[in-house]
Symmetry: C2
Amino acid sequence: MIIVKVGGSLGIDYAALCEDVAALYKEGRKLIVVHGGSAETNRVAAALGHPPKFVTSPSGYTSRFTDRKTLEIFEMVYCGVQNKGLVERLQRLGVNAVGLSGLDGRIFEGKHKDTVRSVEDGKVKVLRGDHTGTVERVNTGLLTLLLDNGYLPVLTPPGSSYEGVAVNVDGDRAAAALAVAFGAEALLLLSNVPGLLRDFPDEASLIAEIPAGEVEAYLEFAHDRMKKKVLGAAEAVRGGVKRVVFGDARVSKPVTAALAGRGTVVR
Amino acid sequence: MIIVKVGGSLGIDYAALCEDVAALYKEGRKLIVVHGGSAETNRVAAALGHPPKFVTSPSGYTSRFTDRKTLEIFEMVYCGVQNKGLVERLQRLGVNAVGLSGLDGRIFEGKHKDTVRSVEDGKVKVLRGDHTGTVERVNTGLLTLLLDNGYLPVLTPPGSSYEGVAVNVDGDRAAAALAVAFGAEALLLLSNVPGLLRDFPDEASLIAEIPAGEVEAYLEFAHDRMKKKVLGAAEAVRGGVKRVVFGDARVSKPVTAALAGRGTVVR
C-alpha cells in the first residue's frame, strides 16, 4: 500500500499526478490518494466575504481557525471541487476512483477541539467555536472494502468527532495516521517544494535524507505548512511506516519520482 | 429498498428528514438518500460573481446551463456543503452514512450533452460548452457493496459521462433511474410543496392520487422543477417501481408520511 498525499498549494500539477497514479493503479499497485485544498479555500472564503483566519499556537504551529461558516466553505472546496476534480481526472484515465471525506463512514475519527490557543501580538488568547480535531482513529473497514473491489479511494478532510461532528483535521497528519493503520510501505507527502530545505526557500539546499530516529530534530528547518508534514512523518515512522518521502508535486511522474527517492527521504 | 430524494429548495427541514431516515435505518430498512442543492448553488454562484443561467428547452423544460465554472460551483454546493452536511447530520444520529456523487465509481453514467437548445425571446438558440447529461446507466455495484455492509449511501449529482467527464444530471430523474435499477418498493420525491397541485400554488388543490398509466397526462399541472419530478415518476413507473410519492419535506417525519400516502401517490 502506498499513501499519496498531495497538498492544496499553488503550482501543483494535478494532471501529472493523476497520470502517474493511473499508471501505478493499472500495474496493480494498491494506492490511496489524500488531498488538500488550502489555497483554493482561502480564495473562495475571501470571495464569499469570510476571509480565512489562521492562528499560531504557543508551540509555533499554524492552523486554520474553523468556525461553522469556515467549515462549510472548507467542505465546498475540499469535498466539492477539489475532491470531485481529482475523481473526474482519474475516471477519465480509466481509474475507478471514489472520493470520500473523513466524515464518510467516519474514516478519520478523533476528538473535537472547540477551543484553540492563539498567540496574537505576543499574548495567548483562547478562541472558541473551533471545529478542529486530530485523527486518533482510522476506520479502515470502508477503505478495505473499496480497495478489495478495485476502487481507488480519494480522501480529504474534514474528519468526524466521536459524536459525528465534522472537524477540520490536518491532511498530512491524517495521511500519516492512514499509512500507520494500513502498515503502508510508503507515505509520500507531495507539495510545491522539492522536499525539506535546509535554507528555505533555496531549493538547492534540499535535505536528501533524514534518519528515521531523528525526524523531530529537523523541525527547525520546516516553515509554515512543512511543519505538519515533518510532524506527520515522525508519527508515521514511529507507527512503523518504512519510508516517508517529502516530494515535489510540480514535476512529471511525481509519485514515481518520490518512490525512487527524489525529495527528502525518511527511513 | 426505498429511494428518498430530497430537493434543494428553501424551506426543507433537513433535521426532520434525517431523524426520520435514521429511525427507518435502525429498523433495518434499506434506504438510499439522493439530494439536490439548487437554491444554495444559486446563492453561492451569485456571491462568486458567476450568477446562474437557466435555459428553457423548446419543449418547455427548464434546466441550469452548466459551463465548467458553473460545474465547479455546483460541485462545491452539491458534493461539498450539502452532501457532507447531510452525512454529518446522519452520523450524529448514529447512521453510518457515506456521501457520494454520481462521478464516484461512475454511479450515474450517461451521454455528455455539450450543446443545449434554449428559447430566448421566442427564438431558439444553440448554446455550447454545457456539461449536462441524462442518467442512462446506474452502476449499482458500489452501492450494493455499501448497503450489504451496513452503510447508508447519500448520493448527489453530478454524474459521469461515458468518458468520465462530470455532467450535471437532474436529481429527480437520477433518483428515478436508481429506483428502477434497484427494483425499489418506493421512490419518494420530497420537496417544499405538499405534492402535485391542480392549481399551483394553492396547497389545498393537492392531487392525492395519479393512476400509474396516466402520469404524463398530469404534466400540465407541474410548474418549474415539478416537471422533472413528474417525468421522473413516469420513468420510474414504466421501469417497474410500484409506488412513487411526491411528498412534503417541510413536515416532521417526511419519509414516514410519504410512505403512508401523504402527498401525491402514483401507483
